[in-house]
Symmetry: C2
Subunit: 251 residues, 2 copies
Amino acid sequence: MNVGANFSKNSNKEKCGDCPIQHRAVCAYCEKTELLILEAMKSYKIYGPGEPIIWAGDEMRYVGSIVQGVASLSQTMEDGRKQMVGLLLPSDFVGRPGRSHAAFDVEATSEVTLCRFERKPFEKLLNDVPHLRQRMLEMALDELDAAREWMLLLGRKTAREKISSLIYIIAQREADLRPGGGSVAVEFDLKLTREAMADYLGLTLETVSRQVNGLKKDGVIDLLGKRQVRIRDIARLLQETGDDADGAMPS
Amino acid sequence: MNVGANFSKNSNKEKCGDCPIQHRAVCAYCEKTELLILEAMKSYKIYGPGEPIIWAGDEMRYVGSIVQGVASLSQTMEDGRKQMVGLLLPSDFVGRPGRSHAAFDVEATSEVTLCRFERKPFEKLLNDVPHLRQRMLEMALDELDAAREWMLLLGRKTAREKISSLIYIIAQREADLRPGGGSVAVEFDLKLTREAMADYLGLTLETVSRQVNGLKKDGVIDLLGKRQVRIRDIARLLQETGDDADGAMPS
DNA sequence: CGAACGGTTGATTTGTATCAAGAATCGTGG
DNA sequence: CCACGATTCTTGATACAAATCAACCGTTCG
């Protein structure tokens, strides 16, 4: 069942046709001939949990798509305070075309497979292939909306609302990725430590722990493992997020 | 000196060549023939201070660019909690192509002139005119970076750091706009009420008031009027923001 | 004039951080 | 396979920053 089993380490041989993220990634709108060009350029790289993918300020030689695993996009202040500014899930794009140096830290949270391209040739392709640029724009606008939704969460939501929102969003994205995925996934892995969740939500890990267990105690979710969650009451969870009942949620 | 004096109310006659934002707006890369198409499509609309431009959930008939004035992009929860998620200045784009309904509230803060296009024809143009789509992508990516910088402020900074950051950023932007503007402006108008600042910073207006007066008491700034600020000690202010001394600040 | 608005200041509450201790869980090497 | 140290997570006690509640001041404007 490991969807990534087809993707062996450091191989370029994989066919885009077999790619689990082909219909959501930056290449989603590409036609077969265009995919052949990408196939010739790409290489896979696997990062272990906790491994840095790039640091803020580093030169950005590669850009690419997360094929599997979870990575975090974050900023750290001098005194150590840290804020995640993006959660990178399969199909998400890493790196900013048109910029030579990274603006944020990117770290693998779980094991991550990255389908990567050298930045400069990729930028050229972005100019030449409308399908690529079109999808890139769409993804950038979606991320901008998501970032703005997150600003509401960080600025105005309570700890419980923050946790509920995070669980709800991860469940949604999980469902999107699954074959028949119409609705929200009922059972899934958070793939984040309490600390990573805290960094994402602007909380401490202790508060995260308390709130997660609070949701469990109140029958909103079950905890199977530490990070394995089952949603008992989706409507209730949605209510706990503080968001509008009718899905005006980030997409 | 009023740069917008050329732009009379509800007129379509204005030439893009006279436009004060032509080299920064979404049309920045367009050539003359392309501008002619835009010129034929566009119309101006003026909004008074406090007037809504669009509400979240409304159908989005128009998209467009801020020609002059300041508008705010914000979200409000059912119970009234409000978070500003963007400050829209001249050349910024309003509306999201590829989406039929607005995701956020947009309100004019001062008098605002909007250069607008019907959404559907504009979307078609976005597909047909590479220069337009290219600039749109660039602007979206810049806004995304700015939103992510703001997430650090909202998630991790103290009230004093938030206020200091806001004052510092407004001062910077003010300096950018001025003729010789190399360094940070020493004296300027905040142009925001305490409440607007609170909505932007994820604070209450009382906390904003206390922190502003705290900075004054500590000799970091002077208050000339309520919103008129003079920076007494720029280095000290920068320190108070909590940011890295070497300007890794939001752009 | 009085009402509305924007701002300040004070008293009190409260949600979350912080400090601290321990319990699970995981990985690794003996 | 077990023992260990290192993580990760939980739980409790306490501290504190900012929210909330409340009163009041100065301007502006109809």
